[in-house]
Symmetry: D2
Subunit: 349 residues, 4 copies
């Protein structure tokens, strides 16, 4: 099979690096181009990039020369790890010009017609894509991944919402430093400390969850109406975002009901067949002290969300804890899974 | 002035050490005796104790020989940092035998007649003490300090409760490792990790807060009836427990109302005069990213609670963040302040 | 191919767990028995063991009932992760009784006739094994792995010693917490701290290196005579021991000479063919700030040693830095590679 | 007494903040001016500065307007926490113009005539100051503090050098993140990691130690000639630099000799009288696992160096471990002690 040539936009940043790592030896996609800032452009990737993941810059991109970030890309598909400001300008231009953009940036997440997608839970939101042509006038298309923290929360809530109707959620996050990119969080701020602020994160958690859990009605997304109140915190963890959740339901489940629904959850077969899809999107941990970021972030190669400590709540109905790998499922891995689906549906041809 | 001779029970543990550190050069109290387990008894403190705080074992206790933990103490006053099981057995025996016990253990916190006290917020609970004589038949007395996390939460809620009536609280804690004593939390469990379980902590936060915010009616404590739902977590912080709070009020305050009430809060003058009382029991931080454990735990020499990020909540009324030094205000320092008050009221004579 | 049935002795500890993790799906070996302390014996492994690695207890051993640690084992091969005291008693008994013991314990490391082995560097020490029969009277045999820190240091020194003759070494280690097992290092001792003491570690580094770099002469090991002075320290790192080395040579190499020799190093072909052997036993990092524990410990699936910052020394000849994964190459992985060789040589039949 | 008005140059950085913290309520000096970069200039300090120490910006400087960094300062005395490049340009201009500069920057450390000083060990280097007038043509003067790591090493070596003659030293440092300023070390680089590189640090340790241990001969400093080989590493510690030392002497001391000499060490009486001088410049720890950064950095209010694990070395003569608070004794505190001495000698009039 001939692989589809792809560009990674914003390739030198922390999420860009994760895209490259996960696309090494990918069965469908092959990186042919990397874009970077003016400071990096025209340098070799291996020299311009301060590799912050384990090991080394993969051989396949080591000597690739970084292109400036513009609208002239080889091939037709791009993964975007662009900073918010640049993404806001460039991503719509690329989609308009005919490219298929799988973005991890927040720029287009709220744009009507652009699916905000976690394939296992709202695969059908791809139905919105024709609106991008008819209403936005794009020749190409764009699909976005949610905010990293929202990813784990929305995956956890989805099966519970289907079964019991989620009405309200209190959520407190304890987020890993890798979520802030590189150099990101100063070590003087986080060693022996917790930072109780992540700019704009609480708003994203509150808003994006309702988009993700929205339903398609006549080709239009009707958002969910869950009331969410969030506290976002940064902790001294390398990878893995944890959230504590207190959930109020329309139909109150028992703890065992909730566990069963979460354990039984699988994505649609079409999604499950994708190479990056984990065997189980949700893993329920029954130990009293799990999930934990370090021990559960790599579940399903970083694509499974781990849920545990499911217990009654004396204000709402249930309390629970959820962990997601913020730069795999919560960022690059999620966008790649989106792209695999676009490919399977013939939308990348 | 002749100082009052005191014993520290459970002197070799982490809280016992903090008692010793804070009682060095205390204007009212002088350590004359230290108790320890059978393993430590009859050894010199400087040899038996693995000092886990900064610096060294204070000179004044270095060569003091550790006594076994029993009911034969010099003087009449004891500070207790005993483990739960031993405290449950020994503290009532000591109080019955005529000693005044200022305990940081959980053993007697729920016992009717025994004040659970944070002097700035419920000083009047000392009125219960006569019940210890009449109902429990004790010749001595006991006063207890609350759980470390509850300490910071209850101090934060008190002025708000007085002004606006707190009805319900969602609270998620991020607690320091020193709260688990020594050796306590294994480093393999907490480095690059969060542990979403602290045994029995959530129950204590939910129960003790209502005792602390209770009102005295005819010499009896009538507990508050705030609904509380807690998530307790351990994070990689040395000292300082942080909580995120979402609070529902009877009379909804504005953010500025809440800030004003918190900033204006002072304990009763009689409490404020005590040597260990901080100038301000509550310090409001207006920076967007404060309070933080490392930067705020030492406020007021570890006796002030820092509160910040006071902002609206789209489910309840207000969200905020609070930090308390868990082994000073939240443990040994709190018990010492209790003892100072007993002294000032003539209850240690 | 029928797999060889093996026992893991001391299976519930941190190194025991690593043995189990690395033996899951091993092409030659199959775990049929797990031994533990009296406290664990007769419980199921999944219940008795506090799994401290990522993820979960592997399915294949989850319901296996733990045996007491004694000399009655199924099969003929055992991997030992026993505590020092028990190993000292039991390992010689097992070898005497006919078992083949691949041990990570220190008990037999200094015993004449017992190879202390890192296959890539002293594979020929297997020639000593007949001495175990003739001199120790064992029906079985034993092979040992060196101390975790020594592992990385000896691997680094070997090719340099062959080429230039190492005469003296100053070494300072910065060792991961997992080296102390579980619960091991208390978090209160290591968070925001360094502990400048690891009991007996410096002696092991000084002694074992000379055994490992010894030469076989007429079936006898003649130890190397390198003078080594060590400082062992514990740092807040989960996995991965780092050492800084200052090395004095008989024949002083240039930096480029040393790099070339290290880069060219390969183990004997027979070793390189083993399933656990990495493609390169030594990886030279040319970046100015590598190797680092977190980013280099997993090189070669944890079996490669990473060396970098090779530069002149103004007292000795060269300075350099080396990182080894302490529980894979430095413990369980090293012992498994030893066993693979025994198998390949027909010594497990 | 009227206090001497002083300026803090580079006041918003991490060391600048430490200067301000230590000068609050200083008996001799009063901050009247703060300088900052163009970005901060003309803003109020409390707004322009991201305070990274504990607690809050001190009241006394909160509303002080930051001046641009130039040669027009109120008063005649300035403390410099300037970045290297700016210091190199500005400090000589200020000294030439008549100011007395107490600098923590590296700019002038190697300049002939400028004392590099740790008052307890080389107070007499002040004799060089007349050379600044005669040879450099300065109307004012400059005194510098050594590199933070060198500080702890040189203090440790001084009494040993006097007594036994230090000939050679192998040193490996484990340095705190605060040594890199703010934002400084990225948390992604140091959490669960060690960085084996600190730019230019090894050279400074090797060079500055010989200046500090130099002797004054006829008003000229004759540098010591100790051979030093250094490995500098960054570890996940907030404050406190640790070094392991292997030392070769002209006259080999016993361990007890070395301990005695270190314990007996005091600075000259004139230095000991200064307000910032600690009671003991060196504290010897006899516990097997001390000194440690977190538990010993605050010894003597951060001005004492702690030394321990003094034991034989099987290559050189003795091994030992030393800890210094890198931003107090090793930076701002050291410079303030220098200034106190200048004041006492009438050099600030």
């Amino acid at each position: 099979m001939k692989k589809i040539p792809v560009t990674v936009l914003g390739a030198t940043g922390a999420v860009g690096q994760r895209f490259i790592q996960l696309l090494e030896n990918h069965p469908y996609f092959e990186i042919v181009s990397l874009s970077g800032s003016d400071r990096s452009a025209s340098k070799r990737y291996g020299e311009a990039c301060r590799w912050v993941l384990s090991g080394s810059v993969p051989e396949m991109v080591h000597d690739m020369v970084i292109s400036p970030t513009n609208t002239d890309l080889p091939g037709k598909v791009a993964f975007s790890a662009l900073p918010a400001g640049i993404a806001r300008e460039l991503e719509p231009m690329l989609a308009a010009a005919g490219y298929a953009i799988c973005s991890n940036a927040s720029a287009l997440r709220m744009t009507p017609g652009v699916p905000l997608m976690i394939p296992e839970i709202n695969y059908d939101h791809l139905e919105m894509i024709p609106l991008q042509h008819s209403q936005l006038g794009w020749k190409g298309l764009a699909v976005t991944s949610p905010n990293c923290t929202t990813n784990g929360m929305a995956m956890t809530l989805k099966p519970l919402h289907e079964a019991f109707g989620v009405e309200a959620v209190f959520v407190t996050s304890m987020q890993a430093i890798s979520g802030a990119g590189y150099p990101g969080v100063a070590s003087l701020d986080i060693l022996d400390n917790v930072i109780p602020l992540i700019q704009n994160e609480e708003e994203k958690m509150q808003t994006e969850t309702n988009l993700l859990l929205g339903k398609m009605v006549n080709g239009q997304r009707v958002n969910a109406e869950i009331q969410i109140s969030a506290h976002a915190n940064r902790v001294a963890v390398v990878d893995g975002h944890m959230v504590t959740l207190s959930v109020k339901f329309k139909h109150k489940p028992t703890v065992e009901d909730a566990i069963r629904v979460l354990e039984d959850f699988r994505g649609p077969q079409e999604v499950a067949n994708m190479p990056t899809a984990p065997e189980r999107p949700i893993i329920v941990r029954r130990e009293a002290d799990r999930p934990q970021p370090r021990r559960d972030r790599d579940a399903g190669a970083g694509m499974s969300v781990s849920v545990g400590r499911i217990r009654p709540c004396n204000l709402f109905d249930l309390r629970m804890v959820s962990v997601v790998h913020n730069t795999i499922r919560g960022a690059a891995g999620g966008s790649i899974l989106n792209a695999e689906l676009l490919y399977a549906k013939g939308l990348l041809d």
